[in-house]
Symmetry: C2
Subunit: 128 residues, 2 copies
DNA sequence: GTCCATGCAAAGACTTTGCACTGGT
DNA sequence: ACCAGTGCAAAGTCTTTGCATGGAC
């Protein structure tokens, strides 16, 4: 268990993510909450997003190309990054079977988990 | 088809990757070839690695956390990034079934492909 | 001669960190 | 009072880009 104090900043950051439905990057969260809370610093946003994700309150999405982003939806689902605009979207692929693997790989690595991410073109960028 | 000229730089960069078996990042390729070819610039290395990957001569590995890296082995295989040292290793997971998806997702995205990447701890970092 | 490619340095995108101060407990 | 958390700015990591020059064809 991680010992944390309740700070207003942390709560504001959490609520901001919970109210964004577009997989915001840390910077996008920062820009959003800055309007009403100009004194919260970018570093605090980065630090708290990481913490909140560790606590399981939000989802930390890590994908190749472009910034990490965050999701209020913590249920398992899959994402696609648009090759044009780099934004991240939910994707509705019919059930993906769990990949089986030995925790200790023949190469000597200890495997913790894996990540599946899609790439393609989002609706907006298709129009262009 | 991409029109390209044959430059010594490009050939040196290709040969350097083909002679490295550790999934080097662009910077690691640069540092390696710099020893014998101090006049080749970092930008040229980045540009050519991308081009060579597009031509299918090497594999461009894109994973969350840390630099992209490159692989002389262009056959399909899977990679793991060590959470400690951030290095990338091959992994020998028994056959992973191909994921089925519709090219056009319900959300409106056009899906080009997907990527599976593992995370864990490499042999070296386990010792510590 | 054309124009792709290079070298260089600067800028850019994203994130982390050091440090003094603040505020939750 | 203690120390986790904050704000700020600087630094760090990885990569791209603008531009003048160079070299493949």
């Amino acid at each position: 268990m991680i010992i944390t104090r309740n700070t207003v900043q942390r709560e504001i950051i959490l609520q901001t993510v919970l109210n964004m439905d577009n997989h915001p990057s840390a910077d996008e969260v920062y820009e959003k909450l800055r309007f009403d809370n100009p004194s919260i610093s970018r570093a605090t946003v980065y630090r708290n997003l990481e913490l909140l994700a560790k606590q399981g309150k939000i989802l930390h999405i890590e994908m190749p190309k472009g910034a990490d982003c965050f999701d209020f939806n913590t249920k398992e689902h899959y994402h696609i990054r648009c090759d044009i605009c780099r934004k991240v979207y939910d994707i509705s692929v019919s059930k993906i079977p769990r990949i089986k693997y030995d925790k200790s790989d023949r190469g000597g690595c200890m495997i913790d988990g894996y990540n599946i991410s899609f790439s393609g073109t989002c609706p907006n960028c298709q129009k262009k």
